[in-house]
């Protein structure tokens, strides 16, 4: 078989391609069978919902590829929302300043995760379950049950303003630019190569001079900052800063990352698949909602997809191995004796 032929086949057979095809399939079938899926309003909605998930899924992909995980992202988002509200209440009236402070806060919160994971060598799963509770608790300390909702209309409008001539919010362009940046970082830079190396074998990565500790620390900080950015968007989109903003969102993010083909054990996967998975989950959920599928059923479907995405590749591999072994070692008479 010629080299290009092999490459084309493996590209088509890849998980990225499967997820991409699934997005198109769900969109087309949805548009044909469910009223409203074909409308521009539907797509505006899907996009608005996908933006914060995508923003967090970008750095999360890198974190999971290094073999770690960050479950505190939704709580970082929530805490950022409340701090943003409190800043406004205190009379900080420059939006750029508020955004900058929020991003800084997010980076610090992420760095705390990073410090516990790299500095003390604790498992990130445990650390970030802890900070998931801690940061959410702090969010309630900041705002309690109050909501801050009296932002200027131009702020809230600007966050969700459409790209001229369409219904799609312009924030998606920001997401697109960031996605390209993260994609290049992961797939075309020495840093990205290092991430895959440490996710597969941290010891060999250290022997190659890769600073595993430092890299992971900065990744957690970046994840915090991106979660904070998602928090700013969340607050402006709903024109409301509350302590419970975005609770449970970490599951949507992790679901997208895993469904996108990133191995929970690290070292494997890519950004394209994750972006496709964010789109797939968004389109699917909203289309089914339009079809009056109850919320519980939606949760069940998302959960099943997630399990399928984690189990799927393993089962396929196992079946293949089984088949290969089953093929009998036929005692063919040999000519050589």
């Amino acid at each position: 078989m010629s080299e290009p032929a092999v490459r084309v086949r493996s590209a088509l057979g890849s998980w990225d391609a499967i997820v991409l095809i699934a997005v198109v399939a769900v969109a087309v079938v949805g548009a044909l069978t469910i009223d409203g899926v074909a409308s521009p309003r539907f797509w505006r909605f899907v996009t608005l919902e996908a933006i914060p998930i995508a923003l967090i899924a970008l750095p999360m992909t890198l974190v999971v590829i290094t073999g770690e995980i960050d479950l505190s992202v939704a709580s970082v988002l929530g805490l950022t929302c409340t701090v943003m509200g409190q800043l406004w209440v205190w009379g900080v009236s420059s939006l750029p300043l508020i955004i900058a402070l929020c991003l800084l806060l997010g980076a610090v919160l992420g760095a705390v995760n990073g410090l516990f994971v790299t500095g003390f060598g604790l498992p990130s799963l445990a650390v970030t379950i802890g900070t998931l509770a801690l940061y959410r608790g702090l969010a309630y300390v900041v705002l309690g049950d109050r909501a801050v909702a009296d932002y200027p209309a131009e702020w809230t409008n600007s966050a969700i303003a459409p790209i001229p001539g369409t219904t799609i919010p312009w924030m998606i362009l920001v997401v697109a630019v960031l996605a390209v940046a993260f994609g290049v970082l992961l797939h075309a830079t020495p840093i990205g190569r290092g991430l895959y190396a440490m996710g597969n074998n941290a010891e060999a990565a250290r022997f190659a001079g890769i600073s595993v500790v430092r890299t992971k620390f900065w990744l957690f900080a970046a994840t915090g900052a991106m979660s904070a950015l998602a928090g700013v968007f969340w607050t402006l989109r709903f024109a409301s800063a509350r302590a419970d903003n975005g609770s449970g969102l970490e599951l949507a993010v992790v679901a997208a990352v895993l469904l996108g083909g990133v191995s929970i054990f690290g070292g494997r996967g890519g950004l394209l698949g994750v972006i496709a998975a964010v789109a797939l989950l968004g389109v699917l959920r909203n289309a089914l909602q339009l079809a009056y599928v109850p919320a519980n059923t939606l949760t069940i479907i998302t959960g099943s997809l997630l399990i399928a995405s984690v189990v799927g590749p393993n089962v396929v591999g196992m079946l293949r191995e089984r088949l290969r072994r089953r093929r009998p070692a036929t005692p063919t008479p040999s000519a050589s004796t």
Binding site: R193, F207, G209, S211, S336
Partner: protein, 499 residues
């Protein structure tokens, strides 16, 4: 002769497009030690894995005592009395040495409780038989590759098998441990066990084995009594051409001190190690397994911390425990354990080969598709890496070819100080002389080479000076003209004075 204890005939095995074995045969008789030799990638380990029940052959038959058998999995092979020492140790890092040795068949007390005391006692006894006192309670994590190999050997011995298969068990061992292993293997052989022995060291092959099977490119070439063969003849059959001079160290002008190590100490591993390696020099670090040679190399390279002392390269002191800084200063380390330390097994050959110098391959900060492949390709060719495609995972390569990738990875960084820990572990004759030629040429270009090696002929052939370590300390510093087998072994076993 009688019916063979174990026989393979017409065995073929392919991995995708790669035909690893083609119509191979092998007969093992009770009470014989049988050598299997061939170049890297000839298919030896694949054959071993078929005997172990790890791979099912695509074609061919396997007979035990003349009856056809199918080995569906490793448990079948074990039940059939076949014990296997794999080329690459596969220990459970979090289990103790004793638990690893008796994995899956721990001695039991009533109520199926594990008899830990008995297990420990038997583990100690096995290690002692091999002459390497290992603490049975310590976890396998962090064991040197040689100690891991000892655990694997103990595991196989504990099975009291009828067929003992050893895939390069000696690659990381020094002469003393090899001799112990052979004593054990000979006594097993004499009590009726069939031993299959794989090695790239021919002196070992001839010291242990009665018959020699040669393989080339996945095919069976010949099986003959060892007494009828010479090393040259075996090599000719393996390689298909003449291979000349094994250790061509050429004299080089010795320059300024490149690597200076002063009073390096790590509690529990090594103490007060001081030496200098000059540009153009190849200095060997010899000693027994566990003498602390690899630990010293790792500390110099900055992957392990140290408690006291200092390391200077070209007169500049290196920060402690900073690998990136060491690489920046021109240091390179080919580590002993290629699977854990040398390579990221799941990544491709090209990614592995370019990992330490990936920054140098960027254009505008980016790695474009071809850059890594081209860079890796040059070195893969020079070292004759046998891989179907450079984009294949390095785990699909044969052991010796993986070792070549580790060498390529570090030679390509153009180091000024090169530390190689068992550089030719598992590498076949042809490439071995190529590696030695490369090391010699590097020294000629002014590189300082520190070579940790357990293979005495390699040490004596290559080194300008031999440093010998004994129990964590430097025991001797022997210049080339005074270095011989005896002086090195005496110092290594703690009987020589500082010369």
């Amino acid at each position: 002769m009688a019916t063979p204890l174990l026989a393979l005939s017409g065995v073929s095995k392919s991995f995708g497009a790669v035909a690893a074995l083609r119509d191979v045969r092998l007969e093992l008789y009770s009470g014989e030690a049988h050598a299997l030799v061939g170049e890297n990638g000839a298919g030896k380990s694949t054959l071993v894995k078929i005997l172990a029940g790890v791979h099912a052959p695509d074609q061919g038959t396997l007979t035990l005592d003349g009856r056809p058998v199918t080995l569906g999995n490793p448990a079948d092979a074990r039940a059939a009395g076949i014990a296997v020492i794999y080329q690459e140790p596969t220990l459970f890092p979090d289990l103790s040495v004793a638990e690893n040795i008796f994995m899956g068949r721990q001695p039991l007390r009533s109520l199926r409780r594990i008899a830990s005391a008995e297990m420990r006692a038997r583990a100690i006894e096995l290690c002692e038989r091999l002459g390497v006192p290992l603490d049975p309670d310590r976890p396998a994590r962090g064991l040197s590759i040689a100690d891991q190999q000892i655990v694997e050997i103990a595991k196989a011995l504990s099975l009291d098998a009828r067929v003992l298969v050893m895939d390069e068990p000696t690659a990381a061992l020094s002469g003393v441990e090899v001799e112990r292993l052979f004593t054990v293997a000979r006594s097993l052989r004499d009590s009726g066990t069939a031993v299959l022995f794989i090695s790239h060291r021919f002196d070992e092959v001839f010291a242990l084995c009665q018959r020699v099977t040669v393989m080339r490119d996945g095919r069976w070439v010949s099986t003959d009594p060892a007494a009828d063969l010479s090393v040259d003849e075996v090599v000719r059959r393996m390689v298909g051409r003449e291979v000349t001079s094994l250790f061509p160290k050429e004299p080089a002008t010795v320059g300024e001190p490149r690597l200076e190590v002063r009073g390096l100490t790590r509690h529990g591993s090594f103490a007060d190690v001081s030496f200098t390696v000059r540009g153009g020099e190849i200095v060997a670090l010899a000693g027994l397994v566990g003498a602390g040679r690899s630990e010293v190399s790792r500390a110099i390279f900055g992957v392990d911390p140290y408690d006291a002392g200092q390391v200077c390269v070209d007169g500049k002191r290196l920060p402690r425990g900073d690998t990136a800084a060491a690489i920046e200063a021109g240091l390179a380390l080919v580590p002993e354990d290629r699977r854990q330390q040398g390579l990221v097994m799941e990544l491709s050959v090209e990614r592995n080969a370019t990992l330490p110098r990936r920054w140098a391959l960027t254009r505008m900060g980016l790695l474009f598709g071809g850059a890594e492949r081209r860079a890796a390709g040059t070195w893969a060719e020079r070292l004759q890496v046998k891989a179907a495609r450079l984009s294949d995972a390095v785990s699909t390569l044969s052991g010796g070819n993986q070792q070549k990738v580790v060498l390529a990875k570090w030679l390509a960084t153009h180091p000024r100080v090169l530390i190689v820990d068992e550089p030719t572990r598992g590498i076949d004759v042809g490439t071995k002389s190529e590696v030695h030629r490369l090391l010699s040429r590097l020294a000629g270009d002014g590189v300082a080479v520190l070579m940790v090696s357990s293979e005495l002929p390699e040490v004596l052939g290559m080194a300008d000076r031999v440093l010998v370590m004994h129990e964590g300390r430097l025991a001797a510093d022997i210049p080339r003209d005074r270095a011989d087998e005896e002086s090195v072994m005496l110092a290594a076993t703690g009987q020589g004075g500082r010369s």
